[in-house]
């Protein structure tokens, strides 16, 4: 694959390497614990591997399904396709498939295990709210995720947490079975060890989760940066971010009279209030992203 033209940020790279190293250390601790436990090592690896593999291999289908998105052809969404065509030519990368989700919530995402199998998807809400220039900036951000292979990176990173959780569950069952019933010979001792393993695995899951989130935020900043450089105007991406995150992003475009069947006449809202917010929890705060973009704007204008 030819390397894409999207530039990288040295500082971010350092932080990502450090986070990655910490995750590797966690991997080693887990392996050590597994060996100490004398659990069926291969069994754990096979299960964790299968789960990770399916998440990695079917990432595009899973994400498209959970966002209720469908793929669109150039005939259906000519403008969206034209924008992505131009951006891919500029970034010298293969054109991903394009999807649209018929949701009012403004959002966009990129998924797929490799740049060749990638899908870039936008909701109807984001297309309605943003100007053409702002939409192009958001698409550039998503294409940067594709170029950075973020699905692969994040799948591997989140694998640690999953593995730890799996071991914790197995150890918990072990402790429960060992603790009850017949307590002859070494069973008491085994039960205690398994309890410790269970607690340890909880701690590891939490640390792994926090590290994964941190890594995800760095990848977001990296995608912001590359996307802004690709379109050459960080301020446009900044204004798009202001328009789709925070309070403004949550005010709907849907008509009250059309939504009354779902929302107004019933007390349980059709969409939970926190849906949009929780999607952004893996993202840096709006202030941080805007700061980084305005710094980039100064750099591009030669005032480093």
């Amino acid at each position: 694959m030819s390397k894409s033209n999207i530039e990288t940020d040295a500082g971010l790279n350092v932080r990502m390497v450090i986070t990655g190293l910490l995750l590797m250390v966690l991997y080693m601790i887990i392996v050590g614990v597994l060996l100490a436990l004398k659990l069926s090592f291969s069994f754990v690896i096979v299960i964790a591997g299968a789960m990770l593999f399916s998440q990695y291999f079917f990432s595009d289908k899973i994400a498209m399904f959970s966002m209720q998105a469908h793929e669109v052809t150039a005939a259906e969404e000519p403008q969206l396709h034209a924008m992505v065509d131009r951006l891919c030519l500029m970034a010298n990368m293969p054109k991903p498939r394009i999807g649209v989700a018929e949701l009012d919530m403004p959002n966009a995402f990129a998924t797929g295990r490799s740049p060749k199998a990638a899908v870039v998807c936008a909701t109807r809400g984001i297309m309605n709210r943003l100007s053409d220039e702002e939409l192009e900036a958001v698409l550039a951000h998503e294409l940067s995720h594709v170029a950075h292979r973020d699905v692969a990176v994040m799948t591997i990173a989140s694998g640690v947490g999953m593995l730890a959780g799996l071991i914790g569950r197995m150890a918990m069952w072990g402790a429960m079975l060992g603790g009850g019933g017949d307590s002859r010979n070494n069973n008491d001792n085994n039960g205690a060890i398994e309890l410790v393993v269970w607690l340890l695995s909880i701690v590891i899951s939490i640390v792994a989760y926090l590290l994964t989130m941190a890594l995800s935020r760095y990848r977001e900043l990296a995608a912001d940066r590359s996307g802004a450089i690709l379109i050459g105007k960080p301020s446009v991406l900044a204004s798009a971010l202001v328009r789709i995150t925070g309070d403004i992003g949550r005010i709907p475009r849907t008509d009250l009279r059309k939504a009354e069947g779902m929302n107004a006449f019933f007390f349980a809202p059709a969409l939970a209030g926190g849906t949009a917010a929780s999607l952004f929890s893996t993202h840096p705060s709006l202030e941080k992203r805007l700061d980084a973009l305005s710094k980039l704007e100064r750099e591009l204008n030669g005032h480093a």
């Binding site: 403004i248 949550r250 809202p269 949009a276």
Partner: protein, 191 residues
Amino acid sequence: MGLFDTVFGRTKQVQPKLDNLFALPTAALTLRTNLDLVPSGHAGLCFKAGSGESEVNSDADIMSLLNFEAGADAATIATDDLGFKWLLLTNDDLDELVTRLHSANETLVEHGLGARLLCAVFGFSPVRLPGEGAVKMVYLFKQGSWYPFAPVNAQDRNNELELRVRTFLGSDLPIEKDLSRWMALWGLPVN
């Protein structure tokens, strides 16, 4: 919903909360001082016309129920593109407008249309045109809460202005906290 409603799969119709309407005149003063917005004199009551469940079906039935005096208020009934009925009132005095609308509400509730009330809308326009554009204050009967709606054209709304209205009115009106309930009312017949 109670346990038995859940077990038997019944839904009680939610009855409207009418009283928070009277907070509007105080809020109107705040809107005038802080955002240069004055009442436009127009208000609308939006409800879904049912069939068969009450004796009021035609526009004439509804008008005769409401029993408005001629002259003081101009009241008309309109049906919008989405099939909702609008009772439209005009009165330059906001206090009277609110009272009128409230009595219309109560009449509709008495005649079994309470669960069909969707929202009430009061128009506000800039003191000096063009200003920043008009704002409608929308009252949700089921939630008993208010929110601003500032349409710019057929499908865009001025979110910045709406959020500023919330900032200023937060203490005067029960503003809907869940922003995802600030639904649009495109092409509404209230000025």
